[in-house]
């Protein structure tokens, strides 16, 4: 948990860049976060990454909060702050300034063309996130079964996911995984 200035700069530069590629929200960027944190920088292993995602999911608030956890894991409180700021700062500035001129080009043909490209890409990225997270969480056959059942249940019926998380936590605690 050493918070060397180099580590903080890596976190800042990396998440600031990544935020611009998070088409469809923070969860769309999960595969890239996993690639960096687990495969490139070896900040954590597969299980720890899945744990962070799980903790972020049970924390109320926006999905982007997983970035805070990764930052904390890598460089403590300062790391948490730097990572969060980097992931939110650039696009917040965009939102601030583009919000002022949005009325002028919201119906422009080029805006529609960009949107037409972004929507399918964001869908593909969420699918990619699902694949990466499912693989990281697949520590046992029971875990795989829980993933499949959760996917089917939350897809077909309207249920508060917290109940499913609670059930899965009990299954895990009972030593089923």
């Amino acid at each position: 948990m050493s918070s060397g200035i180099g580590t903080l700069l890596t976190l800042a530069g990396y998440f600031a860049l990544l935020s611009l590629f998070a088409i469809g929200g923070a969860n769309a960027a999960l595969p890239e976060m996993h690639r960096l944190a687990v495969e490139v920088m070896h900040w954590m292993n597969d299980r720890e990454f899945a744990d962070m995602f799980a903790i972020a999911q049970v924390t109320p608030g926006p999905n982007v909060i997983v970035v805070t956890l990764i930052g904390y894991h890598v460089a403590g409180l300062l790391g948490a702050f730097v990572a969060t700021l980097a992931m939110c700062g650039p696009t917040c500035l965009f939102a601030f300034f583009i919000g002022q001129v949005w009325d002028r080009f919201k119906d422009a043909p080029w805006r529609m063309a960009i949107q037409a490209a972004l929507v399918p890409v964001s869908i593909g990225l969420i699918g990619a996130s699902a694949a990466v997270i499912a693989r990281a969480a697949a520590q046992s056959w029971v875990a795989v079964a829980v993933t499949v059942v959760t996917a089917v249940v939350t897809y077909t019926i309207r249920v508060n996911p917290l109940w499913i998380f609670a059930g899965a936590a009990l299954l895990g605690l009972g030593g089923m995984m």
Partner: protein, 191 residues
């Protein structure tokens, strides 16, 4: 403040002060598990009447257009509209402050107790369920696309999925290639 006063037939959007803005986004943040957008709409449009439904949809369209965390962008867009720079900052702090504190506390606990076998088993369970939730979110998002006739949009989505999710290529190269191609095709097929 004035939630219980009867609203006139044509409700003009009410402008909140910075404190109200901060409290509202804090509430949105802590009440939303994964579905923050639902809560933000409910509070902004239905409860506080700070925005009309059309204004909300407009702001939402903008936030979908921008990269990055959507709801975070939304807090900035809305905060700026009603309260300028201060409004944007206050809304952003309200949205991110509470979960930041909660999650760093959980991160601290994880750093100390993450190796306890019982906690590891609990997290393994939650992680598996959270992964399943992401799968179903992805399927729901893909729904409208799946009902269309297969075309270029399907190819784009599939390419992004395979390159990033299966082949594990860096997102920068993948999007750097796919998005310009996608925009070009969308532009030409539009005319």
């Amino acid at each position: 403040m004035s939630e219980s006063t009867p609203t006139p037939v044509q409700p003009a959007p009410i402008a909140p002060n910075p404190l109200q803005l901060f409290v509202a986004f804090s509430l949105i943040s802590v009440s939303g598990f994964g579905g923050v957008l639902y809560w933000s709409r409910r509070m902004m449009v239905d409860e506080r009447k700070w925005m009309t439904a059309e204004e909300f949809n407009e702001a939402y369209a903008l936030c979908n257009f921008l990269p990055g965390p959507n709801i975070v962008n939304f807090s900035v867009v809305f905060g700026r509209q009603v309260g300028g720079t201060v409004g944007a900052l206050v809304a952003l702090l309200g949205l991110l402050g509470p979960p930041f504190l909660v999650v760093t506390l959980l991160g601290l606990l994880y750093a100390y107790y993450g190796d306890i076998p019982a906690l590891q088993r609990v997290l393994a369970g939650v992680a598996a369920a959270a992964a399943g939730l992401t799968v179903s979110t992805g399927l729901k998002m893909a729904g409208p696309l799946l009902r269309q006739r297969p075309g270029f949009a399907h190819a784009l989505a599939m390419a992004a999925f395979l390159a990033v999710g299966i082949l594990r290529w860096p997102i920068y190269w993948v999007l750097g290639a796919l998005i310009p191609c996608g925009i070009a095709v969308a532009w030409w097929t539009r005319r």
